[in-house]
Symmetry: C3
Subunit: 204 residues, 3 copies
């Protein structure tokens, strides 16, 4: 029961809410809402566990993940009328989810002895895969392809995590610092409408 | 060579036929028909084996699965003109497939010592994943999202399986009872046009 | 550091270039171009490693694959104006990729003791999966479904590989012979506009 475990449960619940919000916005039925919430919440960790060979995948071995998803989805359904201003609430929970999952994925990569670049890629995939699947199933163009800053925030967060680990022993400082960086990058990107430079300026 | 093994082969062949029917309805070429049949038949078991870490996946280690798919697909192609009334034939083979795969997935979950809720989820995924992939590749909205009763039948079947296991030692009773429940739920759903209640009645 | 290892790196780079070309043709931003290049290059091997249980997947354990992808993508981006005649350049790199990946996948199947039919299927999947994912993410109908000769070339190549292995001990002869067969089949298919016979001639 490390702090990382509780963070993982919180991230799972946050992603479940983000998935439920998108699904309800698409007016899916209750069962469909739960499926989308589950896939969003469990997708990134499932991908991470498969790629790294940590099988059976995490959510199969610990029922608490399933409980977190069921409870979070129920809360989202019950309070759906109060959550009507979808985009801001969605952004909040989505950001909590990617902040936490970036840390967990990167940490697992570091502990498995992967090259830092691979650990960063693993953290980014863990954070992004659930949302990509959610968007594909709901027939949206994945948000990560529309606003690549989404993925950049994960990469910056994962690098921050690796750097902080060199300087601090206190895991709380590392976790909180990394999560704050991810949230800050996304907020700045939204506030200033940042996006990556394009190279098609040649009017090709 | 347990009864479950023969059921698995039968379910694989039934799903292959269901996949071939959908592919021929989309007028795919012979190679495309085989690919869709293969994905439909092998998809659920592949997903189950990956998630639970039973690797290499089952159909790679036992050539009989491949033979079952090739023979079933050939039969579907040869008799394609007699199978013209697609929807009823399709429903039959699809139902046999999901009935059997629900049992096998749930059983594997129970034997692996997973929580009952996880075993039910595993059985449902095993039964549904092949059909979802078939529908996505054929550019249909997955049937499971249009008629979520499809998944409900699996869940009810998986629960039946777990309950029957507590009361009977005879595996045949358990298998047949579970399969009949899945088929009955689907038939009732079609006959009475059952669907889950929606919660958007608030005209939102 | 077997010859197969160097071939694998070359095939990875070739597929990365093919992915980058498609992505730039869709005018994706630099980050999107890299993601598509990565998925195209790493997709087939990832699928192969997951199905056969060789986990963690190859590219996580050896940073050279990531370097090959980064360098190849950068080259494709830098020379994008010179590569303007997309389809011919694309065909070249795509063919190199599928030729090499077919060999590697089939060889892994043989060494794992799989049935020849399964080894052929594994080689074909290894060669095709990256391209299928590339096309789906770029919103094209996968080329493999439009021109199934794509997959036929892999299957013919994989069979050639198995046959040559019976008669030659020199791996170079086997590798080069197999790759040439794959390239020849694809070139012939393009030159003569070959395609599989259809069976819908009954005007159904």
């Amino acid at each position: 029961m490390t702090p990382l475990y509780y963070l993982d449960i919180i991230g799972t619940a946050a992603f479940a809410i983000s998935g439920a919000l998108v699904a309800m916005n698409k007016r899916l039925d209750p069962f469909g809402v739960f499926i989308i919430a589950f896939v969003t919440a469990a997708g990134g960790g499932t991908m991470r566990d498969i790629l790294t060979g940590r099988l059976p995948v995490g959510w199969m071995q610990d029922i608490n993940y399933m409980y977190a998803i069921i409870i979070a989805t129920s809360i989202a359904i019950i309070f759906r009328k109060k959550l009507r201003f979808l985009s801001r609430t969605f952004f909040l929970f989505d950001t909590i989810g990617i902040g936490i999952f970036t840390i967990i994925g990167t940490e697992i990569g570091v502990k498995a002895g992967f090259h830092p670049v691979i650990s960063i890629a693993l953290g980014t995939m863990t954070a992004c895969f659930g949302g990509v699947t959610r968007d594909i199933l709901c027939n949206d163009i994945p948000i990560i392809f529309r606003k690549e800053i989404y993925a950049i925030a994960c990469i910056v967060g994962a690098i921050t995590f690796l750097v902080l680990q060199e300087f601090f022993e206190n895991t709380y400082i590392i976790y909180i610092g990394t999560t704050l960086i991810v949230i800050t990058v996304r907020l700045l990107a939204v506030a200033f409408k940042l996006s990556l430079p394009t190279f098609y300026s040649d009017n090709r």
